[in-house]
């Protein structure tokens, strides 16, 4: 017994020593910055359900950092990326965050809406500017969220007006919107509801969960409602199912989806033949976009020797880097490379240019999306990233008038 007691006491002493680190060291505001380096964080899902998108974004982030560093860095400092993988698990992310947060100036990537939700309070408390890989305008209530691109609600509004302009939809028509429950789907629905109100559309919305895979019954129901268009704020698998059912049931109406609803892998699935009715609205360009910057990235991607099949995540990840470059330069000019300085610099950034990878971005208005411009693309198996443009960057009138949930607060 006494021996046991002694051992426990020994453990009590040794354990803290082993773990003892800089505990108690004062937190400074210039976290993540030294004379030579700026460290930026990446909280990615490299092993979970969004592995393929998040990996591509991370690769885009890396390509950007390489380019910047080759060109001499920012503010005389090299960019260093500190990457962790949370596997889309909020609990894992919650413990990883305190480990990585003290090392970084900001996050160029934070993937996963449950993760963003779990960390929202921390990000605000630590004043760490973060680019979530999620495009919900609900996130804009967090002043430190720097969303690169437009938001799901606006994508839907732009997309619907595109369809109407092309004659596929008329005022008073019935439309169906299938959305996954969660910030992604709910935000998309917010947009379609707004547009439906403006144009007297009869909106039939169907809430599903991200693990549902067979939408045949849902589409059967929508067919019964006589919808003219199906809107999807879903996962790629669900998009495939809805598209296949659309065709199989003989409904054959146009389908409009947000960017995350499409994955080039669909083109190899049995649903491929049903994808011709699919229109994808996005504020970032597809991998194969016919613009100089995108082509340059595609080349660099090939040269870097990445093994994964490319997707739109790569140019997006690169674009995020470019935006961060702009913000960091601004902060450098202000001579304030602290977290506060970054946040200030972000708000001063009113026209971040990414070489048309994303429309010009304005972070000047708190709570408002940085842009309201989108592309429209369609699936195309022959294009390297699986999609082709059908409509270059544009902004619908309805989108201009739309007020995001946290705008002007």
């Amino acid at each position: 017994m006494r021996r046991l007691l002694f051992k426990a006491a020994a453990v009590a002493l040794v354990l803290p020593l082993a773990a003892c680190s800089t505990k108690g060291g004062a937190e400074t505001n210039s976290t993540g910055v030294t004379d030579k380096e700026i460290t930026l964080g990446v909280m990615a899902d490299l092993s979970g359900p969004f592995k393929s998108l998040s990996t591509a974004i991370t690769q885009g982030n890396e390509l950007w950092a390489k380019d910047v560093n080759a060109a001499g860095g920012v503010c005389g400092r090299q960019i260093k990326l500190e990457t962790v993988d949370h596997g889309y698990k909020a609990d894992t992310a919650k413990t990883l965050y305190p480990q990585i947060e003290p090392k970084v100036l900001g996050f160029v990537q934070l993937t996963g809406s449950p993760v963003m939700a779990a960390l929202g309070k921390n990000i605000e408390a630590d004043k760490v500017t973060t680019t979530p890989a999620s495009w919900s305008s609900e996130l804009l209530n967090n002043p430190y969220a720097m969303i690169v691109g437009t938001t799901y609600d606006i994508e839907m509004i732009d997309g619907l007006s595109y369809l109407q302009e092309k004659g596929m939809l008329a005022d008073g028509d019935s439309v169906g919107h299938i959305y996954v429950d969660g910030e992604y789907g709910a935000n998309g629905l917010r947009g379609s509801k707004y547009y439906a109100e403006q144009h007297k559309l009869q909106l039939h919305d169907v809430k599903i969960t991200s693990t549902d895979t067979d939408l045949t019954n849902v589409v059967t129901g929508l067919k019964g409602q006589g919808v003219k268009v199906i809107l999807l704020t879903t996962t790629p698998k669900q998009t495939g199912s809805a598209a296949a059912a659309n065709k199989a049931l003989g409904l054959n109406v146009p389908i409009l989806s947000n960017n995350p609803a499409f994955d080039p892998a669909l083109l190899k699935s049995p649903a491929a033949s049903a994808l011709d009715k699919l229109y994808i609205v996005a504020s970032t360009v597809p991998f194969s976009a016919d613009i100089p910057k995108a082509k340059e990235i595609a080349q660099k991607y090939a040269a870097a020797g990445y093994k994964e099949p490319p997707n739109a995540g790569t140019p997006y990840g690169y674009a995020v880097g470019e935006v961060w470059g702009t913000v960091l330069k601004k902060a450098c000019e202000n001579k304030d490379l602290t977290r506060d300085g970054i946040h200030k610099a972000m708000q001063q950034t009113t026209s971040a240019d990414t070489g048309d990878l994303v429309a010009a971005l304005n972070f000047g208005t708190p709570g408002a999306p940085a842009t309201r411009q989108v592309y429209v693309a369609q699936p195309d198996a022959s294009a390297p990233g699986g999609t082709k443009y059908v409509q270059p960057l544009f902004e619908a009138e309805a989108a201009k008038a739309y007020k995001a949930p946290h705008e002007g607060q």
Binding site: D85, H86, A117
Partner: protein, 344 residues
Amino acid sequence: MSKLLWIPVAVVLLALPLYLDASWLKAGQYMMIGAVGAIGLTLLSGQAGQLSLAHGFFLLVGATSYSVLSGTDDDLVGLGLNPLLALIGAVAISALAGVAFAPVAGRVRGIYLGVASLALVFLGLYLGQAAGSLTGGTSTGRAPATFELFGFSFSNEGTLIVAGVPLRGTERLWYLFLILLALSYWLAKGAVGTRIGRSWRAVRDNEAAATAMGVDVRRTKAGVFAVSSAYAGLAGVMIVLWFDILKPDENEFGTYGINTSIAFLAMAIIGGLGSIPGAVAGAVVVYGLPQLLTLYSTDLGWFTGSVTPVLVSSFVYGAAIVLVVLFEPGGLAAIGRRIKELRS
């Protein structure tokens, strides 16, 4: 465990926040959440023999109740109660939810009960999404009130320095969780050793004999469901405080889903069904392993490619269940007992 051994254990647990980084503290707190929930399940499934796969649901009930009782959001239902009252209320509401399931528990036995209880998880998934005014909905969730005890806030607010170490939200939460776990443990121990614990075991081992000795089997089952759900509810409150947010699940594999229910059952089985220290040990294995492996692997660069810490821990706990059933149905608790016997 011997009484003397408690002292160094307590000293270590109390001293840890002075040394460990926030990440490790977070991981430790997560294990404590698991331990509180697992104690509840081991009382139900181990002591009283009622298999339940509904633990995730009761976690959600507790989490939601706390958020609603303490909430002050304008657009959501919130009573703005004192957080301590809200915590007690959440535990009580979870207990009532457990009682509400009693008619089913009274009629359905054994493995059938386990499968029947799965229905609650799916119901919880639906209600979590549908009752957005209570849960905040899956889109944004809702932030819980910061926990306060007699005016002391468990957040970064104010400065509190002990031995040169500033105690911020994470450190403070550690002590809160430690108190809750210690209380849960102590209460469970008290119950198991006395009249109520005997009636649970009697119901588990032989209902006819229990009845003959004057135990009201129906009531006892309802009671133990209530107790177990109360524990799950407390774990639910803790999980909301740990995440800083209540966010109902988007699918059945979320924070309050099937996987959580199975994980809690795994803790109880691995620890040894019915053993309270075993439940704590089981929580360390099932909830601690993925957290610790993730933190270590990030530090040391372990696990590359598709073999992730989370995957490794899943393998470990799957294998642990198989091994326990095959070789040591008493679980870690029985192994512990055996080591103790060998030493004395």
